[in-house]
């Protein structure tokens, strides 16, 4: 083939151009650590990476959900524990009061102790977290339990609703984190005296102690025992939910590790490979620079006189 001056120039230019182009791509990859910097670098990989990134964002949000669920269930657990303790204390006092040997004055002092427990329970169920009432269902802005404004029976009323808050643990699972004062104190149960709400029971016990009515004290103690049992059951339920949340927390962190790894394998460069290639391409580039500088140095004109 007949070789011409321009041909040599063109091909040298093209070779230098493609050598520096490859060098730049590799340098970009090595310095950014990313194999895919735009969708055109690897359309399928980029779509996968987008999917993984969105999964990771979901996991981050679900982890926040888990934290929130743990917080709420933890608060519910300690509230139930406090309520149980208060009920047990009232029961202890009531048992003493039921004893025939107890004097009237002692019973009056006991009634004050029962009133203390009523106040404790009231504080527990009206507790707030960040100005947010915890046990009123969706009614989070006012005290869930208060004195009956109409007076009379029942002495205390539930002001909240039956709103149930469930928190998403993943795309398909939700766990109930809410607990209402209605559930804790058995409000709105059967209207008959056999299962009154716990506030009515406690107020009844207090009044019976004040009035020295041992029969009423016995009835109160019986109802109190039922209340203690149901709060313990409720606490078991909350504990079971907390365990489930814990399980999801573990799953989420496992999933996060797996997906991060997959994202890395799709999106990131194999640094050893890239650096090796980079070295090779640098050598190629230098060789082509050298070859170019040698090639254009001489022509026949140099030897003509």
């Amino acid at each position: 083939m007949r070789i011409t001056t321009q041909m040599m120039n063109t091909s040298m230019q093209a070779n230098l151009g493609s050598a520096i182009d490859r060098l730049m791509t590799l340098q970009n990859q090595a310095s950014s650590g990313k194999r895919i910097q735009s969708v055109s670098d690897d359309p399928i990989g980029a779509a996968q990476a987008m999917g993984y990134r969105s999964s990771l964002a979901s996991i981050a949000q679900y982890s926040k959900n888990v934290t929130q669920a743990k917080l709420q269930l933890g608060l519910a657990d300690s509230t139930l524990s406090d309520v149980t303790k208060a009920l047990q204390e009232a029961k202890r006092v009531g048992l003493q009061g039921a004893n025939a040997a107890t004097s009237d004055d002692q019973r009056k002092a006991m009634a004050v102790q029962v009133q203390q427990q009523i106040d404790n329970i009231l504080q527990d169920v009206n507790a707030t977290n960040l100005d947010h009432h915890l046990y009123g269902g969706f009614a989070t802005t006012s005290d869930p339990v208060s004195l009956n404004p109409a007076g009379g029976s029942p002495p205390y009323v539930y002001n909240g609703d039956d709103g149930v808050t469930k928190v998403a643990m993943n795309d398909s699972t939700e766990i109930q984190t809410s607990l209402t004062a209605k559930q804790i104190l058995n409000f709105g149960g059967a209207a008959d005296a056999s299962s009154p709400d716990l506030m009515t029971t406690l107020v009844g016990l207090r009044d019976a102690l004040n009035a020295n009515d041992t029969t009423a004290i016995q009835t109160g103690l019986k109802n109190l025992e039922g209340g203690i049992q149901s709060t313990i059951t409720l606490r078991g339920l909350v504990g079971a939910r907390a365990q489930q949340v814990e399980l999801h927390a573990t799953r989420l962190s496992d999933a996060e590790a797996t997906i991060s790894e997959q994202l890395t394998s799709v999106e990131d460069v194999d640094i050893t490979k890239v650096l090796t290639q980079l070295q090779t391409e640098q050598n190629v580039y230098q060789a082509s620079l050298l070859a170019t500088s040698k090639m254009v140095q001489s022509s026949l004109a140099d030897y003509l006189k």
């Binding site: 735009s38 670098d41 779509a47 990134r53 979901s58 969706f138 398909s172 026949l300």
Partner: protein
Amino acid sequence: MSFFGLNLAARGLAAQQNAMNVVGQNISNASTAGYHRQKATISSLSVAGSNGQRAMGAGSDVTDVQRMQNQFLDAQLMGSGQNLGRWSAGKDALDQVVALINEPSDTGLSSDMSKFWAGWQDLALHPDSASSRNNVLQAGTTLAGSFNRIASGLRGVQTQQDSAIAANVDQVNRLAAKLASLNNDITQSSISGQAPNDLLDQRGTVLTELSNLVDVRVQGNGGAGDTITLGGRSLVQGSQSFALSAGQDANGHTTVLWKEDGSAAKIAGGEIGGEIDIQQNVIPAYMAKLDEVAVALRDRVNAVHSAGSGQDGTTGTNFFVGTDAASLAVNPALLADPRLLASGATSAAGDGTVAKAIAAIKSEALVSGSTLGEAYGSFASLAGTHAVAMQDKLDAESQLSAQLTVQQQSVSGVNLDEEMTDMIRFQQAYNASARVLTTMDEMISTLINNYGAR
């Protein structure tokens, strides 16, 4: 003894000088684009003997200056130029689209969408928190803004094609007119018997430029009489050229028309062909996909949101307004009063059920069996695939073009060493001819001075 020998030597000198001029022309055009190497053909001259005398050599003459050309290669290079123009116009536009999409990243639309869903989840956890409420509105505004940005960016690419087409139409007209005037010059020059080699080179260069812009066809045998057609209609015929003009279609996009009768010009290649393809087919398809995702998002979020109740008890409020990706926005009423945002089915402060339902839209299959995130991902990936395919075509065509150029250069290019050798050859022949002239002169001088004086 006659002066015949002096004339013979003079013709030799002139012939070598002419050949040297051709060498000079080759050397000075060694790097001129479109230049075809020229070669002087030197032929011997003779005079027929009269009165039974034998024929005599009468010296030499440059009878022809040949233009070294392979028409087939030139035509192939022209076709390759059409594809190069088309693919590179397409690639430029698609590169812009890919940059616009900016995925995978932590700042693209996909990540904005994730943040939007997370915002709703967060609101479901804290329905009575004013900051969660504002956060959802902010995330919605950012997401809508990303849709707007990409949609207007796509529109921008389309508008850019419009102005590029209009500018290139002017360019085509200029080149076609130049071609017609060169054809005229070539015809004139051929009539006067000169070899119009350099005009032919110019014509070839203009034709190459024209091929990069539009898919012209050349009918003829490579001379000034060729007809250059575009989409089956004559663009240049001899010394006459037909102009194109830029028009507008119903959507306000630039179209190419024949100036003469206003009918549409059929262009399927070259830069203009690539630009038309992007403007008419590629961008509208992307826009449709993006709109599909935006509209599905709007409809589904609105359906769930409007069934819920704001904190003030207002129901039936839409979250998103707008008709497509370009106009998607968060309902201004919500931005003015965040309490209207429906986090729950009731107005109760702690009700986050609707917020949770909206967050769950994330995993609903809404766009032909895909979630919104996946649908956007496939849009982005499609643009990436197109960009890669375009780059591949461009690379393949560049390689083909490079090979063809090498072959063409091998025929038509200038090799300086070769020209140097020719230079020495013609110089020495010139020197020898001069010596012949001197010797002839001395011979005549001998005759005149030594014998004529007596």
